[in-house]
Symmetry: D2
Subunit: 351 residues, 4 copies
């Protein structure tokens, strides 16, 4: 019953097999190899565009490098106030951006509303040399609340951002889950909706450690190979990160994994709801957030369930918070089984 | 006949097996797992000391993070002028160190002599606020010339460095090769000789992507977990980097691999010498540097040999440079075979 | 009728005279001169302590350098959400701090309440390597709302900060106004109340360009001379910044100027109140904030009054905001005259 | 007898008078004033071009900000190995450039020869992502050896630099001395010769603290106002830095001062030569470098002469170094008198 994170699962079997298979013979390092070419080709196919892509091993590197590419050091990154880049990356974007400022915007369901973005950008304060320059809008797909942006929402936000000179970054650590949920083509939900650069995660979807920075306009990737290198993020035995991405994008593995994880989240959510424990935010990807009692929380842990408590920030007004309520997050993955879900719910609903 | 680098080899079989074996069940991310504990334990055992160690996936990250920990932004890092951190990391140390300065010192055989270090540190220029502060001495083991520092040499340099307030970093991307050659215990050639922080590489020795920053004084590692995280170098599925290091240090795999690579380098060097192509620097690790004619170089490449040409900087006075001489570097690894060596030499000596 | 800022006034006559007088003979540069020694001595006397002080020419440099000295790059600076360092320094603290994060706290009257600070520091999020480390509490004295912290308030905040390992910085761009208002000794309102490092401004008080970073614990200033130099903030003809500070602190000029400016603010506030335009925040230093109608605002400007409009953020609940209300800020200085104040009020109250 | 530096002199009388005169009335801060407009206008006139210029108070800030504008963080700045930016700015260029690398080139007489620059840029090492990108050529005018680059020399270097994609920075802390010596128009020796951005110093020429970054292509100054601000280098009472530059460039004060300083250096050089103490480098600006005996050095100091000893690096082969030789630097300024020069020489030649 491990719902702590989608990174507590191991490596999807197909990816592990591919890794082992790639281990033959001598291959030039640093991306000068056939696996890298194929991974890049797969990414281009998936997004239906001639993109520039760069592989790294962590989501934090992916986000920070991507963002730094689109902002001067005196730039501001507008994002949801609970975004991973704000709360969980120990200042990595600020480090890679040489002191950029992250400006957190409020928003229901973990998402930024168009009106909020517009108001923020139209504040009179941005003009003078005393003020940082809004340079990037970063959207988390799925959001930290487990919700997703539809293409039309992305487009509306991107139009506002572009009109004010900002580039649009998507933190797509769980993009696959969002696409699987919407049954939307990858292009429709990214560059066709206005995304300029994508942090495309494979790790949470079953890779060992593989993420891609995807530039939808290749010309804007100038210099990025050195940016990655000096961040220490260019692997020498690069084929082994490339083959992960290749396998992830082969035979729709990425979407199959995402659909399974989403289905497990739905099952968990549905069964908890039936037991009177409704999710606090819509379950749109592979995360379920719920308020449970401290006693239930304790017993679940005692019986071996793993999950994280979260700060009850930004709960919707409808959330039924009681004095002993605990906000918990359950994440599903390719490795989650119906048995685990059912066992978890059985314990939770016994209370 | 691939001698381009020790990173063109794949993953040593034992390490690949260990990776596959580690892929079972749910495990907490970010290093909170048994593999990480065991890898740390192995490192402590190998170095015979209660150290603090941190795993990352690239040597550049390893060096840059380690060095940044020991220097203020206005610090200088003294190192050989051909050191990897100076020439091949695209300014990563400067980036992680927030604008530190790398001061390259000259030196025969890729090594810094005690007198050179002393003279550099006793230059009167260092005192005032206008000048950077020498803060770190970085030694490459093995050096970029394929030579190694003996414990007594390290000790002599470290005593000078410490007397001037510098910490001693060792770039140990090929430490195993150096230890295997000297048949020296790891402690004698590191902390007992005065090394404060080690970049301990496993990748060139057969790992997929695993390097450790090893602090011999645990207290000096304060804050380092965040330094690594904000560099984007804390892996989420951390067990998979840890298990590589664990396997590398199990049953002396690391030393066995190094011995084999060294032996292949010796064989290559001996046979080339016999054919009149003497190495320009002593072959003390797994690298052979030699001057060959352009014609020989071309024919080797035409017949499928892979190796890199290097700038003929800092050649010893004894080197017999001819107008058409090319300086080439051949690197051996766990995967190098005697057949490859012999085939290479056969072609080279046919000219 | 210039109330735009206290930096629109020129140089106080005594300071200009001192500058001219210092212009004789040859003097070593970079602070190795008698004026610098005397300025340092005056600062020590004023604060009744053997401090380490460093002169620079801008408040932004002063704050940014001071803060950077007390936080690792992965540190967080807690401050009021409207603090100058957050809103008006174009990311300078983030730049000098190598990507630190500024965390803005809400608070009435431009001030941080002890409970708010405590709650922020006791949030469970700070522990892991994923999160930045609260490292500095920065207090603006006077605040951006023109209010001041009393010694007891500072002490309460400092105790909390110190208990959590934070250093306390005071942005004292208008410290003189605060001290003059409270009639408090400088030591009582700074280090005796727990301030570790002070940005001590003279520019707004009549200097041409002179600010001092004052370390109350000299040992914590180690390396700061180089930090200043590499920021480009060590003047070569240093005597001319030093003599400004010396003159500023001679014969209580700094307090006399502050008392005058405060008195002018009081007069302005009192007369506006009498005319039905009550200040929105208590007038405790040399700034008056008031809501006036757009029509009054326009006519004031048309008649030559200079002042800035401000975003109506964080207005107190008691503020009588009307649809056409404009929040304006009036700042007084050594150069403000009663005639100007009265003329301004006459126009404002005519509406 | 103060020859320690041209910054040991005070402020030229005309500039001090102008400062006092500017001290009237209220003036908007941060450069929104008539003095700033006039200073910018004067700079444009002097350089005979519609430039973008920005004032700061130190040469280190001037150089560092200018250079940072023209290089990505992974860029290299090529300059003479004894350039001020390399040796005397405590890593400021590296700090402002977010970890750029300064590559010192050797060269006689403190200057870079075209062949040396060309060879450096044509080294094969610059291509791959592992290597920094040469981005700026920085020329010191006058050089650290007191010599100057003629327009033709600058042009030759700039053509090479531009052909390799580098921008050309001129550190013109003593540009006035160089122009006065050559009797060359400012445009001929800067942008017409290929300089892209100039650090234009007034401080050494008699200002209190005033330097200008001058962009000869205005479009390349985009964002620079924020770069300056976040470095803490935008003065609030900006008129007082502007008026210095205005006065400096009025009625040819800058050239008159430079001519005087140069003449004093010539006198010193000529008289020392006559006494058998020939300068080691051509005296082309306001600096004289000579080898004197330790005994002479001591007696000069004992009798009140002020000057600095320098490391005897890069002495020309012709220099007659004796065991007790000391390399000393004498700098003249607007305030140097013939009497001081003669007194100095009298003592020096008595030995």
């Amino acid at each position: 019953m491990n719902f702590a994170s989608d990174n507590t699962a191991g490596v999807a079997p197909d990816i592990m097999t591919a890794l082992a298979k790639a281990n033959e013979g001598f291959v030039l390092g640093y991306g000068n190899d056939a696996w890298t070419r194929r991974a890049e080709q797969r990414i281009a196919e998936v997004f239906n565009r001639d993109v520039a892509s760069f592989l790294v091993t962590t989501g934090t590197a992916c986000n920070s490098l991507a963002i730094a590419n689109f902002t001067p050091p005196w730039g501001a990154v507008l994002c949801h106030e609970n975004a991973h880049i704000v709360t969980d990356e120990c200042g990595a974007p600020e480090f890679f951006g040489n002191g950029i400022k992250l400006v957190g915007l409020p928003g229901d369901n973990g998402k930024i509303a168009a009106g909020v973005l517009k108001a923020a950008l139209e504040k009179p304060q941005w003009g003078a040399p005393h003020h940082v320059v809004p340079s990037v809008l970063s959207l988390s797909q799925a959001s930290e609340a487990g919700t997703i942006y539809r293409p039309a929402e992305i487009r509306e936000l991107a139009v506002i951002a572009h009109a004010h000179g900002l580039a649009v970054n998507m933190d797509g650590a769980r993009l696959a889950n969002a696409l699987a949920r919407m049954n939307a083509p990858a292009d429709e939900a990214t560059w066709k909706a206005g995304v300029d650069v994508l942090s495309f995660g494979a790790t949470k979807g079953g890779a060992m450690a593989a993420e891609a920075i995807v530039f939808f306009d290749k010309e804007r990737a100038a210099g990025f190979d050195r940016r990655r290198k000096r961040g220490g993020h260019l692997l020498s035995k690069h084929r082994f990160v490339a083959v992960q991405m290749e396998a992830y994008l082969t035979d729709d593995l990425w979407l199959r994994v995402a659909r399974h994880a989403n289905a497990m989240a739905d099952r968990l959510s549905d069964k908890l709801s039936a037991a009177g424990i409704a999710p606090v935010w819509p379950v749109e990807a592979n995360e379920v957030f719920a308020l449970i009692s401290r006693a239930t929380c304790d017993i679940l842990k005692a019986k071996g369930a793993a999950f994280y408590e979260r700060l009850p920030d930004n709960l919707p007004a409808s959330a039924a918070v009681k004095p002993d309520s605990v906000l918990v997050r359950m994440v599903t993955s390719f490795a989650t089984t119906t048995a685990e879900v059912d066992a978890f719910v059985a314990i939770a609903s016994a209370r």
